[in-house]
Symmetry: C2
Subunit: 469 residues, 2 copies
């Protein structure tokens, strides 16, 4: 097979996979999407990426860039034609350098997120991007999908954490843009165009990342709340009271916590009596540049006011790092414990915070009307207006019944999101999953402009075809 | 003149200016650039902007969008052909709404920056963009040029303060993108493409802006320093010690302060003896969510350590708001007091913070070699790596002599910036001023991609021709 021979000539035989060896790269980690590939190319340097791209372009071969293959929308899985080359960035995994005075790090696309965090920590710095897949996702994938996570409230999305990019274009040229500058107004912002474009415009091979000082201490509190409306007021007061020290604000429906302790009996809800069975909870995290005592004192003052005002019905403030971790562990256990409710239909949406309560109320009611007895499983990053609004069979449907109606559920929820000026993909991206529904919700002028950009930067349509657009 | 009649039909006679009335719009505020216009169109609504653009496009007439006309690079001034229509956004000056729970404001492009700040303050919120021209520049111009200013260290550049845009495209279509979402991963980031493109891709007509809680208190300190190297270490310690409470870090050369007190004898340098004649100073600002006392205590602790370590030779911490303002006033008086040194050649550059000391040393030495006795006038936002590196006649050159060599000075300084991996335009943009030198310093692959974007979004080249590219 001469085509693969050419790739082997560029990369060496051990870095070109086909047949069975290629399989793990042609199916996503949840097994929801599967395809086939002509080959999997594993370049070890930016120049090799460029050579592979030039060879694919010359031979009209579609390319599917892949990082840790942890995406949730099928953005890194080839179609089933078997014509595409999967370009895995896994071997581009060096931290090229850390500049502590400039608070920047240059990392290659294939660096595992956790390794990036760790390298920063060893230099007494924080790289704040943090999400469930951090042990296996790559920074290149994080940037290509503009990943979110739990620290967005304070530090922003992946796009806000990058100063410059090295990119291999659709023609196989190298854009040398690894600037470490916080101010640079010399032309169009190509960086933000590649970030979030899911490999459809070019391949990110390295990034210049922002670092922050490590907080001296952090502290966590869990508040028991009566309503989403109260949660929104609590958020507003917390932003005022804590300023930028507020680094996390998670909203959790009561049934999610019940699900966690049912699934993991060694965990417990840290309240007694009625406070243990409230409809909503909020998890707040403070990062402090003074001390753990100071963080706790701040919590006591501000949360004390919220209790007094009747906004929070009860509150637990962690007394030490172990208790803080136990509270976060409750939150982090939700996704896996969701199986207690049966296989659910998941939505990753964002809504203006001010409309959140109305959105939840209206959407819940509409779902109940159409699917009586269905169960809502709702949690998310309220500080960013981001909800994981999931829908489970409850006691009244079988998983199969619900699954057979999943497109009805999607449409109902996404239509509602749209009416509340929200986004149908807050942090997971578009990929294959939401490509076809995008035009239903996106401004047609914006869709047309996106097509023009695609045409301008990838005129032959070889970069990750079938994704986003 | 039938062409203008058409514009009059769209906008009404009082909103189309020609002849003498058009003059103020065809010259920049410093009188450095002047041109001529077929007419000045002053639409009052987004729809009128779209109508004007469609009419211009249909008649092949170039368009020059203009906000407060306060730019420093000639980006809003038409060329002298007299063929272009200047589209002033001044009448689009409504704040369309403020959403305090969502911490967002929708403002039209022609809103004066100070009015945006004021509207936020009235809603008990902060809109943090702040710069010298805030009394007359517009938010549309701030976004079109990605303005910087004094709060970038904490809050970022203009691009970091916008969540969504309404844009009239080069064809006169309206992109309805006024989203108020902190997370939205549904396709390419068009927003950041228009931000900083200086009106060459389309016209921003309104923006959804991020608001922040108003700090409870702020406090300012002035530190006397021996070297830029010490300033960089002080910055690093301040970031660690204060976290996100550090909202300003300005570097000021000693001769700049001397210039201020010479020019404005009612001002004084708040030190005695040798501390009043140090080569460098740093102005630090803390914004606190607790109290003025707390801010001062934090300053005392962290700055105390710096004094003990010999990093700072002396320090003044403001005891009240009046003293804080007096310290900031010193910094803000520098640009106008520069006349004490004679008409200077100005550079708005950024450098990785870690290379700042070497850059200043090397560039100063190279300038002295080529122009013996020339005077360096250096100040800027060290926290963002942004220097206003200005060069004055000193005692040895006449203003005319220096002016006649200005391109030699530009080239020497910009070449040095380039060698130190910096940017030749940190916050002022490109406009006409730096358009022709851009290809000298920019990656050719990046320049080619910028041209492709321009071609894709403004294929007929009618949007602000002759600027940026």
């Amino acid at each position: 097979m001469s085509q693969i021979d050419e790739l082997v000539r560029i990369l060496g035989t051990q870095h070109v996979l086909a047949g069975e060896d290629a399989k793990p790269y042609t199916v996503d980690w949840r097994g929801r999407y599967s395809g086939a590939a002509l080959a999997v190319a594993k370049p070890g340097t930016t120049d090799e990426v460029a050579q592979v791209v030039r060879w694919c372009a010359a031979n009209n071969i579609p390319m599917v860039p892949q990082g840790g293959n942890t995406g949730l929308c099928g953005g890194a899985t080839p179609d089933d034609s078997g014509e595409a080359v999967v370009i895995s960035l896994a071997r581009l995994n060096r931290v090229r350098g850390i500049d502590t005075d400039n608070d920047t790090m240059v990392a290659e696309a294939g660096c595992i997120l956790q390794a990036v965090q760790q390298a920063a920590r060893e230099a007494d710095r924080l790289f704040p991007l943090s999400l469930a897949a951090e042990g296996s996702c790559t920074i290149g994938g994080n940037l290509a999908t503009n990943a979110g996570g739990t620290q967005v409230l304070r530090y922003g999305n992946a796009r806000d954490l990058v100063l410059g990019l090295e990119v291999v274009t659709a023609e196989g040229e190298v854009l040398h843009g690894l600037r470490g500058l916080r101010k640079d107004n010399t032309g169009y912002d190509l960086r933000n165009l590649y970030v979030g474009s899911e490999g459809t415009l070019g391949i990110i091979t390295a990034a210049s990342l922002k670092l922050y000082p490590l907080p001296v201490a952090s502290c966590t509190a869990l508040l028991a709340l009566e309503s989403v409306r109260d949660a929104v007021t609590v958020l507003s007061r917390a932003r005022k009271g804590f300023g930028a020290a507020l680094t996390g604000f998670e909203l959790i429906a009561g049934n999610c916590l019940q699900g966690v302790v049912k699934c993991y009996p060694q965990q417990r809800i840290p309240f007694e009596g009625p406070s243990a069975a409230m409809p909503w909870y909020a998890l707040l995290e403070l990062s402090d540049s003074e001390s753990a005592d100071h963080a706790r004192e701040r919590f006591e003052a501000v949360v004390g006011d919220m209790l007094e005002a009747g906004l929070a019905r009860d509150a637990v403030i962690a007394e030490n790092i172990t208790q803080s971790k136990a509270l976060w562990h409750l939150r982090e256990s939700i996704p896996l414990s969701e199986k207690e409710f049966g296989k659910s239909i998941k939505h990753d949406v964002s809504i203006p915070v001010s409309l959140m309560a109305d959105f939840v109320e209206t959407t819940n009611a509409a779902l109940q009307k159409k699917f009586p007895g269905i169960q809502h499983v709702i949690f998310g990053h309220l500080g960013d207006g981001n909800l994981h609004y999931n829908v489970a069979p409850g006691g009244v449907y079988t998983e199969e019944e619900l699954l057979s109606r999943q497109y009805d559920v999607y449409e109902l929820v996404h239509d509602s999101v749209h009416r509340f000026h929200g986004s149908i993909s807050a942090e997971h991206g578009v990929g294959q999953l939401k490509r076809d529904v995008l035009p239903r919700y996106k401004d047609p002028v914006e869709m047309a402009l996106m097509w023009r950009i695609k045409q301008a930067l990838d005129p032959r349509g070889l970069m990750n075809p079938g994704k986003v657009l």
